[in-house]
């Protein structure tokens, strides 16, 4: 199976204001211009604050209606719970680990191949 190029970006939480701004810019640019899927990884985030939630919603808005596929990696159960409570998980697929997220399009691609074979 052909490997799909991925962009994995750590979510800029807990960083200084300047770092956060830089990472935020990288993240939004990647979502806008990257043709490859983007995985946003929260594994290093202990918990999410209101700025994080705002940025997540901005990410989801950037990805909406574009070719770019965006996936979130919660990293912890607490982050996963917060993503579900805020309904972000209904907008963007959420996974527990990067490994799980990487498996997601492959499963989709495989089932697509099987569908083609069946037809």
């Amino acid at each position: 199976m052909k490997a799909i190029p991925w962009t994995i970006l750590p979510f800029p939480c807990g960083a200084s204001f300047a770092d956060r701004r830089g990472l935020r810019k990288d993240l939004l640019v990647a979502l806008r211009v990257s043709g490859s899927p983007v995985i946003v990884d929260f594994s290093s985030c202990g918990t999410l604050n209101h700025e994080d939630i705002d940025l997540l919603l901005e990410c989801a808005a950037q990805a909406a209606g574009r070719e770019t596929k965006v996936l979130f990696v919660a990293g912890t159960r607490v982050n996963r719970v917060l993503l579900e409570v805020t309904r972000i998980s209904s907008l963007v697929p959420v996974f527990n680990s990067v490994r799980e997220a990487l498996a997601y399009p492959q499963i989709a691609a495989e089932s697509h191949v099987q569908d083609l074979r069946a037809s």
């Binding site: 918990t47 999410l48 607490v78 719970v81 917060l82 579900e84 805020t86 309904r87």
Partner: protein
Amino acid sequence: MELGAVVVVPAREDLLSLQEAQPHALAASEKSRPFYSSRMPILGNDVLRSWMERVRKLGLRSLWLTHTPCDERVDGSALAEFARQGVERLLVIELKSYAEMDLADLLRFHCESRNPVTEAEDAGGQLGVCLRDYLALHATGEKSAFPSAPTDIGQASYQFRGYAKRILSGKERQELVRDGLTGACAMRPLGTEIRDQVWVGEGAHLASSVRVIGPTYIGARTIVHAGATIGPFASVEHDCVVDCGTTVERSTVLPDTYLAPGLLIRHQLVDGGYLEDLSWGAVADLQPAGLGSRIQRREARRQAFRETDVQSRRGGACARGFAPSSTASQPWLRVQL
């Protein structure tokens, strides 16, 4: 034989001082499970009162109320003091469970088994209800004073086959809410049934666009803003605020909780700024993200589930003087039934 009764309210040691001011205090982190006070209302009901009513049916006129750290049992020397004051048999209820137990049947079993101690159990283990005779009370006191003293006293298990749930567990609390809403247990929601299986407490305000799906309970003075959905199998206790568009489904929201707009609370238990996911057991702090918080209220209105309130509602006299080995962390309170 003179019978006495004690109800022990479990509390986290580091929260004991907080309990006076904030009886529903909860401490939670990712590492430890949250502690829910057993005085927290369930569908508007105080489980302590249900036990008080059962004790009253035994013919007792009063009981003693105290609290201990949640992992510990009541101090043995304090129980021995009851024996010294002439109590020959003591019913000790640790407020950890809601059980529809006929205490007269427990007493009958205890008398017939002729053991100094009888512990009530169900399939899940001990329910925190036991009867201790003079001999056992005395032995407990000796064990407390001299830890090496032998405590080889007979103990019987009373197998309870009726309805019981452990109220310190978020999951079992939610099961009790479900059963109360559907009539699967004797506990009924405290409010007016405005339509089939939808109960609303006094002074609750629901915006006209709120969708309420039964079975559901909305507690007294709770405010539900426009576009919110409550239910099915939801219990939003008294003095909460559910903001616009938030959904509460198969969940419990404990008193004085604010929920921000647009949230999805599903199979979870929320207490102020903390949320426990009942499927995964994860506890999230909602406050940094501004998703939920504790509503601070004026002292006079804030809480209707305090020990002092137990007396005033019953209109009974209260003697605070009796204090078997009373310590600052373990005060005793006499409650008229």
